[in-house]
Amino acid sequence: MGIIIAVISGKGGVGKTTTTANVGLGIAMNEKRCVVVDFDIGQRNLDMILGLENRVVYDMVQVMDEEVGLKQALIKSKMNPNLFFLAASQTKDKSVLDSKKILKLVTSLSEDFDFVILDAPAGIETGYEHTIEFADRAIVVVNPEVSSIRDADRAIGILDSKSQKVKDGGEVLKYLIINRINPKMVQSGEMLSSEDILEILSIPLIGKIPEDRGIIDASNQGKPIILDPSSGAGRAYVRIAARLCGEQVAMENVELPENGFMQKIKEMFQ
């Protein structure tokens, strides 16, 4: 049985979908079979970020309604043979989700894959509740700012009360990713420090991702930033994926500005 991980944030626009794509690809690069599922029904984006926009034929809702088989709807990534993708429906809305059907879907996915990664919709509505319902673990993505932290806090609270694992007396393991860290702003005290965020949310940290200009272009091109070894954010996702696969990787301090010679030259041309 594979591990079902929900990627949640509460607030929208903090980088949930980008994280899902990069972490999913990173796990596949670690020779693990991984499937990423877009649960953001009606507002899917994961297909674009993975560069699979034009290959979506069937979606998750059609699989749940047994109109098509699971194998037909799964899309194999061009970038890595271990990575598969299941699209959300763009024409339906979140009301089509149903607990029994979701359980059946995620169970059959976890039989085939080592990792099943669910990209939750923003907010804490039924779409979110259905995403976390059968998750074994959760990746919480936050930005170092108060509104993101508070929304994530609320999302964790719902996760701790509404997921099936908690109802059965267990616990959903949670990992924190702090995204879009701007080293200069952290140094000058304008951004919340990681210590403050960890104290508020009190869940274990699995990685910090520096703000990176390359991410927008990577998303537009449909090539996740993890494929770019020159990107700080890309390298951070490589470390996070390795940690998720059970490797011990030391935390790197992305809050210190890079002071290398190349950095200075780069800054001169910016």
Binding site: V146, I149, R150, D151, D153, R154, I156, G157, I158, D160, E199, I200, S202
Partner: protein, 206 residues
């Protein structure tokens, strides 16, 4: 108009024997110099003269308002004359009645945004209250970590750390949290006035 509220200690005596009363006061009047003495029963001229002579402030046959729950000590004079050392204990200010007994909950999980913790008794919370979290409590409350959410407390007291982002309402009165210092603070409602007293000696388990 200028008004002021304050508490006084009252010593109450029902006199049945003139000589017994005077003999008791001869021994003990030093303890009652800061007290208001309320006498009733057999208050003779000799007694009023005696009390005036000792410069003690007293009232005769006045029905003073008092908080519920304070047990009247039967024949206090007799008891006091026998055991003088008990006097300070008997004269402690009247404590508000304990609303709940043996009803303490100890919680060490953090209160997250959107969560509401409702407690009927007392609560000792060993974790933080995050922004958007709420504690609603009828009893007394001690929180050892920072509070960023809101608190509604209707107990006798609260103990809190400095919590500049918190919204604290104590008995329907909003507490000005700029008065909370960087240590545990005791918040009490005394005579309809909120009193915030920093706890000077740090508790080692916090």
């Amino acid at each position: 108009m200028q008004t002021k509220q304050f508490s006084v200690k009252v010593f109450e005596a029902v006199i049945t024997d003139e000589d017994e009363f005077i003999a008791f006061f001869d021994k003990n009047y030093i303890f009652f110099r800061e007290h208001l003495i309320s006498v009733s029963g057999l208050v003779t001229q000799r007694i009023t003269h005696y009390l005036n002579e000792k410069e003690l402030r007293f009232v005769v046959d006045v029905n003073l308002p008092r908080s519920k729950g304070k047990k009247s000590t039967p024949s206090p004079i007799q008891e006091l004359t026998q055991e003088e050392e008990k006097i300070p204990a008997l004269e402690e200010p009247k404590q508000p009645e304990q609303k709940v007994h043996d009803n303490l909950r100890v919680i060490d999980t953090l209160v997250r945004s959107g969560q509401e913790l409702k407690v009927a008794g007392d609560l000792l919370l060993l974790n933080r209250v995050n922004s958007g979290g709420t504690i609603d409590i009828d009893g007394n409350l001690i929180i050892t970590q920072i509070v960023e959410g809101s608190i509604r407390c209707r107990g006798n007291f609260m103990m809190l750390k400095a919590s500049p982002k918190a919204n604290i309402v104590f008995h329907d009165v909003e507490v000005d949290n700029t008065y909370l210092q960087e240590r545990l603070n005791r918040v009490e409602l005394i005579d309809n006035e909120i009193r915030i007293t920093p706890v000077l000696k740090e508790t080692s388990w916090v």
